[in-house]
Point group: C2
């Protein structure tokens, strides 16, 4: 099944290593599906900016841990945050130099149903970032990062909510991860069946998959005079 | 921000360790947000069965790697698969005893917009599985696992496609992960604002988020007499 290609590392494009693309490294050397991988910064940024939940991987006691968390992007840097009591963030603070992490973002765009089970696949866009996380200790950078995190989920929201106070800021740990060892992987298009399978009596094609937003539900205690913000209609 | 709770480990419920629930371990000991964590098998199974893409974490050269991949569930076991050339699967085959992995599945159900940036949150359902991956070497189990994988994406599809032949089966590595060290974490409901913030002039509430499927797009070369299967309408 082509599904298997989702488990392989991405590969650079011709622009890899240029100002417009990330440089390939040992960790992003391809094992297969070269045609699906991209290093272009614009491609990577677009995939990162279209999501807000990533999967954060780190090593604890020699074993992998993968947790969902939210993130924001500011230029060539990702910001993740959590409670000052959360394990990975504590580790990032204690680790010297920093905490090795892997941040992965995945969009599922379609189900690809082939005549053969083997060629079933998924249309998707994913980005994998390898690097070292460091705690943000500068208060101004932390506040900027938290605004970026909120605006990454709902663009424009940070300016329409109460900023964190000193107590809240002290309870929130922010870590940063520079976008340096980065690659994207994209699968698009239709079915790739074997020619000899085309006459088989099975349906084949693509089922589009998308993330959709429902009608915003105001809090029960919300002042009725406060209208639903335009930035929610834009989602 | 309550978003931070997404980065913490889950915690068992009162039923933890019983026949109906997974037993808590050091790796699933809570650091916070106890009310959001569940060990109940039915809860975990429902979250796993509602998705088909997981994020697979493993350790390579001491650093974490997180890759999106597909999976299927058969009872208390997950099956993941990939090319026999893919790194984690090769590692699972070589590793003795097995390859330590972490498999995480996350659904985003809503955006929770509070009056304060700090209390912004996400409604979500996630499952984290810690364990050791082993390659499936028995051909019958491998075939069953691949059927489960296809049917996990589209229930009923494996019976309506050509099964893998010997060559395809040989090119596909299947790994298994027993559901033993498992926990779920769920955030539902509305905004949890501070009482003193309720009078602030900001909109607050929840924006529902859902995964939706579009109209199936038949392959261009599909025999027009082959109708769209009912199991696609059921998605």
């Amino acid at each position: 099944m082509e599904l298997s290609t989702m488990t392989t590392a991405p590969v650079g494009t011709g622009s890899a290593g240029t100002a417009s693309a990330y440089r390939p490294t040992d960790r992003t050397v391809p094992s297969r599906s070269r045609e699906r991988a991209h290093y272009d910064r614009e491609v990577v940024h677009a995939i990162l900016d279209a999501a807000y939940v990533c999967h954060l991987g780190f090593v604890r006691d020699g074993a992998p841990v993968v947790l969902p968390t939210l993130y924001g992007r500011v230029g060539e840097r990702l910001y993740l945050h959590g409670s000052t009591g959360s394990r990975p963030l504590l580790a990032a603070g204690k680790a010297d130099p920093g905490l090795p992490i892997c941040v992965t973002v995945t969009h599922v765009d379609g189900l690809v149903l082939a005549k053969s089970a083997f060629h079933h696949s998924i249309n998707y866009r994913s980005v994998v970032v390898h690097g070292t996380a460091y705690q943000v200790t500068d208060e101004d950078e932390a506040r900027m990062a938290l605004d970026a995190l909120v605006d990454h989920v709902v663009p424009g929201r940070s300016a329409d909510s109460r900023p964190a106070n000193a107590k809240e800021l002290a309870a929130t740990a922010v870590i940063r991860l520079d976008l340096d060892e980065v690659s994207a992987k994209i699968r698009t298009g239709g079915v790739n069946d074997e020619p000899e399978d085309l006459s088989l009596p099975y349906w084949s094609g693509v089922v589009p998959v998308a993330r959709t937003y429902g009608t915003p539900i105001p809090s029960a205690d919300l002042d009725p005079s406060i209208a639903t913000p335009d930035y929610l209609a834009a989602l």
